[in-house]
Symmetry: C4
Subunit: 204 residues, 4 copies
């Protein structure tokens, strides 16, 4: 199995595991990766797949502007593929992008306007670049939209606020990414955990 | 394996997965499907099966008015089989009907009278016909009853309010359906997720 | 495999599944069964087994007063074995007894004194003898004790209040039973679900 | 398979199971064991492993002061390895140490200052030495720090308060240990369950 097939298998395992946690109900969410060797080619999850059944075969191949290429040229990718493309452009070290529709970030996004800040949690060290719990970190929250060009502009304009490899889309979910699947998972799980803690503390 | 056996296997997988989520405690819930080729024949889950152990063998065959046919003619189907029959009649494109006893819709049904409305959630697009989060959608809530003839009348009279392929039965659960298992699952999971979000937001 | 070995295997599957739900943390809970052919012999789970690893081999054999017999004569059964014995005596049709330490009944037992009542839930029909949601049912709550003789007396004195095949022990958990594993599971899951709903509604 | 390899396999199973419960998000938590025959050698989980994928191969070998030895001499262990070392010194009967980042103890630690007390729960008997629910027990809460020497001093100074084989680190998680994996699991699960109950009761 070559490196690309291995990545597909490994990400498919993560996708099914996150589905079991309830992070991708109703065929929601998209996932992608690319290799260091060829950063022009992006492998992205097909639109409208039941994530409980997602397999390595369910990735399609697109170019850097999200157009299907090769054997997938006839496929219509998810509109959100453009979010993946713009993230790879803005953060060039990115190798894997994960997305979640889990409940806690959605709830948080109804109560916080522009960002949510976390302070004092050991798990904050899950974000690359954070070395202590004794810091205040901020995750931007952006309004949801069906207009992906508009959203790309929002991401470009807010690039400097996106320092923890993730953001929240209001009433939609989270995006998190990293150099590898390992790092992207760590970022996603860190954000999800922090959102859960903050939500539950609010309700004390 | 023919198409019917394949459908039985696939729906049985979904039934066991939903049981693990806690959506069918205590042998509750019923599931059914029919094929495009023969919409007179309905395959419905046997009454009183532990859904953690449900298998393809646990479907019985009934006709459009819910009477067992063929080798199952001696079987007594669940009283709720009639709800399935009336849904196939009212919404003729339906191929699969799912039912859930999960907690959140039950809680919601104690706090809302005739319907619950959702607005602004990306996941609303999980309902066929919804293309944006920027809309208000409504799911009807009906009173529970043991009288299936009475409930059939309620469904017929309220057909025009059932526009998102699902409804809630008070203190009972949800029904959701679609052309295929894929679509029915998407509708059910969308409704369950929305009920969970709205319940949790209420408690903020 | 004879009937007894088959029962051990089937109950072990249920025990491991309930452990995954969090109903038997920290080696807690006990389970037992007996056959119609020989209601003098009770097969009860060994004391102090990690329920995530419970297997058919982890049953020991005791007589009707809870003394180990046969090859298990040297074993010291759990003190709570006596609760199982007294339940078999009080409710002679019982074939399987399940126990749970799940969180919701424990929480409920801190807020209700002698009993908790449920009304209007479809799932109430999960209790044998209940045929409609349109009824009020009552589950007794008893104080926890380490004195099993004392607790046996409590059960005997309150027999008439135990009409739904289950009870709650304060800050301890639930017991539920039935003629078969199928029925005992239905009773346990019904009670757990109702306790969860009532707890969550309280917190609205 | 020798005893050490068997222990690695058994603890790896527990690690993956706890990950599924959400107790080790984002590569967090560490685990260790040692044998009665050689209490100078400690087997500790490698730093930065995705716990959903943890296997027996992911243990490294360190000496009593946390320095890697043998084939692992070039490895950099997790900084928290020192917590494991000091616990083995303070509580010499310890054979297995477990760690958790689960949500409830973290929430509890934001609301309680020096300790949390539990009273009246049957599950308290999960802590070795506790024989009745009818007692008040106390679990110390310590401030989180990145300075492991400082934290070792805190543990040494508070040894007498650590009587239930576990403690909570504020906004970080729990540590629990025992003579065997069986006992360590029982202690960890007991603490996690009690924290969940107390949190949920607070929110009634």
């Amino acid at each position: 199995m070559n490196e690309i097939e291995k990545s597909k298998e490994e990400i498919a395992i993560a996708i099914r595991a996150y589905n079991q946690k309830g992070w991708s109900p109703a065929t929601s969410t998209n996932y992608s990766f690319r290799t260091i060797m060829d950063n022009e080619t992006i492998y992205v999850s097909r639109s409208g797949v039941d994530k409980s059944l997602f397999s390595a075969k369910d990735f399609i191949t697109v170019n850097r502007i999200g157009n299907p290429i090769g054997k997938d040229v006839q496929t219509v990718p998810s509109a959100e593929t453009l979010i993946h493309c713009i993230l790879y452009d803005l953060f060039p070290e990115t190798g894997v992008i994960l997305h979640s529709h889990s409940v806690y970030p959605v709830l948080i996004s109804q109560k916080f306007e522009k960002h949510i800040d976390f302070e004092g949690y050991e798990i904050q060290k899950g974000f690359s670049g954070q070395t202590t719990h004794d810091a205040k970190i901020s995750i931007p929250i952006f309004d949801n939209t069906q207009d992906m060009d508009e959203f790309s502009t929002v991401l470009i304009e807010n690039k400097n606020r996106i320092v923890n490899h993730s953001f929240i889309m209001r009433n939609h979910g989270t995006y998190a990414w990293g150099k590898t699947l390992f790092e992207a998972k760590r970022h996603l799980e860190t954000l999800e955990y922090l959102c859960q803690c903050e939500w539950m503390i609010r309700n004390d």
